[in-house]
Symmetry: C2
Subunit: 356 residues, 2 copies
């Protein structure tokens, strides 16, 4: 059986003041009338039954997410007591899925990204499933559209031919976020994809990799799995998770795993990581403005106004981002939006937790 | 007896979104912890008993203002059913005051202005009272500190000597708001004061001027006065006020009145007419910023943030005005702040009355 796992644990610091500790980026309606998490589920449901869709999230975010997608069974929400990075999250999903089907194939997907071409997205998930069935660890690579320094890259190696209209390559190596110069070279070479954080593999294959490469985590996962069905399964998870080291799946497993392949795809994928990246997704008016929510403007240009129910009025401003939430408003120069994270750090440092 | 009349009927369009139809500029806490209206009363109380202080305001603004100054008797609030300019407002106050004392002297004062030197302000009110007792219509002129095109000017004529340490001049003429060039000439000449809209006169003298120069208004005032004490005094005022023409005291009376004098004073007077003029009153930090309310900033310069209870966070912006009210936020280039009025017109034109 084919299962989908949506990793929905991030906080989305750079989307403050809309994203908060109690209201993760995934739960926000950033594009259209559905939240990022709802979009993530919507694009899966033509391919997966609700009971085949798992969600790994943090205990404190689970209720809000579950309420947004009532069609998913509550038992498919896997709640981490505390986030430990993608490796432990994926391991936890893997042992849950193997309870249902030891031969299962699992697709690891995200809720932080917007995907325009959802039909093609599902086609590549089908192709990746076929490659995974043969034992490959499949990564979905995104064909780069610019020399971004914000993503890790995957270098394509030997071609393994086509799988259902999609080319499959061995992965030669994973790279960290590059400098601009390196990114430009990689873009020009045509041999690199962005690492999207989406993977497809057999549950037994990924667990074998955990066993080989992350034996401590594997042992901890086994400890948790042994408690499944017991009265204190949750207490056991809390106890074990205190000892689990933070690690990403890329560093922890993928870089040294066997049989890793990449399928480079062009599916209109956008990382909605910041206000600027969100702005790229939304239609602009003739002055380059984007207005979400009630607004009134005089002579405003290249400005993103992300409002809610309150009126945002602008006069004679340009190249700024205005985000209005119920208890805080952000006014930020467009070319400084990466410092939103720093603003959150400032608030944290001052103990102003009610605004976090 | 000496009476003070605070004219508090304006709307303060240029201070939107803080000022609203239901919340006039006078009722706002713009400078410190007291509203403009409270400041206006505070600076009078060392000189006037509460029962000597009258307020002329609009029916729909009266409740809020009265609640801010519970020490004033409710019967001293004179409520116009609709604003008709300063001439009718002052006439209405005059007939009320003559009920108390036909020989009364009345000072006409405003609540739109900030006065730093309140001690000197009261001294000039005493001097003006003495001049008014002799039959003069006294205008308080403000010594200009720049070539402002935003005020009318008063030209000083023949000197009448000193009154309690203040020089008194005949008024040669009143002028409308000038062009910049004309304003520069007037400033250089030293013979002009700004018209502050503050006047002191005997009630019988101003009513005689109304009778001579504005006979229609005078007849309407007599009609209203005849109904004083009747059961339908308020209904009569509403009926009469429908027919009253809109007129300012400057055009309607002062320009052609007899015995008009001016006392030019330097009392730290500021017209708080717009966000920029308010900014001149408030202390700035080392980067030229003014922050009112909770804020957090990164690399922000020459910016006015007038907030309330919500957090306003700024990153990398300069020369802007941010005003945060409970249901609307304004972000405006500092050199465009005169267009706030236009923003209000836009909202009005679109029938968006809930934001007015």
């Amino acid at each position: 059986m084919y299962y989908a796992v949506i990793i929905a644990g991030g906080s989305g610091t750079r989307l403050w003041p809309l994203s908060r500790r109690s209201r993760s980026k995934q739960s926000l309606k950033l594009v259209g009338e559905r939240s990022m998490f709802q979009h993530a589920v919507d694009r899966l449901t033509p391919l997966f039954q609700p009971e085949q869709i798992f969600v790994v999230t943090r205990e404190d975010q689970s209720g809000l997410l579950a309420s947004q997608v009532p069609e998913l069974p509550m038992s498919n929400f896997i709640n981490e007591p505390v986030g430990r990075g993608t490796a432990p999250a994926i391991g936890l999903a893997a042992i849950h899925i193997r309870q249902r089907d030891p031969q299962a194939i699992m697709a690891v997907l995200t809720a932080d990204h917007y995907i325009r071409d959802t039909e093609k997205f599902r086609q590549v998930l089908e192709a990746a499933k076929s490659a995974a069935a043969e034992g490959h660890l499949v990564t979905l690579g995104i064909k780069p559209v610019c020399a971004s320094t914000g993503f890790g890259y995957i270098k394509q190696g030997q071609s393994l031919g086509m799988m259902r209209d999609f080319p499959v390559f061995r992965v030669e190596r994973f790279t960290e976020k590059p400098t601009l110069e390196v990114a430009q070279h990689m873009l020009a070479s045509g041999d690199f994809s962005w690492n999207s954080g989406m993977f497809v593999w057999r549950v037994d294959r990924i667990l074998a990799e955990f066993q080989n490469q992350m034996p401590d985590l594997y042992a901890q996962l086994m400890e948790v799995e042994a408690g499944f069905g017991s009265l204190d399964a949750k207490g056991l998870l809390v106890k074990v998770w205190k000892r689990v080291d933070e690690q990403t799946i890329d560093y922890g497993v993928m870089e040294h795993a066997r049989e890793v392949v990449v399928i480079p795809v062009d599916i209109g994928w956008t990382d909605v990581g910041s206000w600027a990246s969100l702005a790229e997704l939304l239609p602009t008016d003739q002055d380059g403005n984007i207005f979400v929510g009630p607004y009134k403007e005089i002579d405003t240009h290249n400005t993103l106004v992300f409002g809610g129910t309150r009126l945002v009025a602008t006069i004679g401003v340009q190249n700024i981002v205005i985000v209005d939430s119920e208890d805080a408003v952000l006014v930020c120069a467009k070319n400084r939006e990466q410092e939103v994270r720093q603003m959150v750090e400032l608030l944290k440092a001052n103990g102003e937790n009610h605004w976090l």
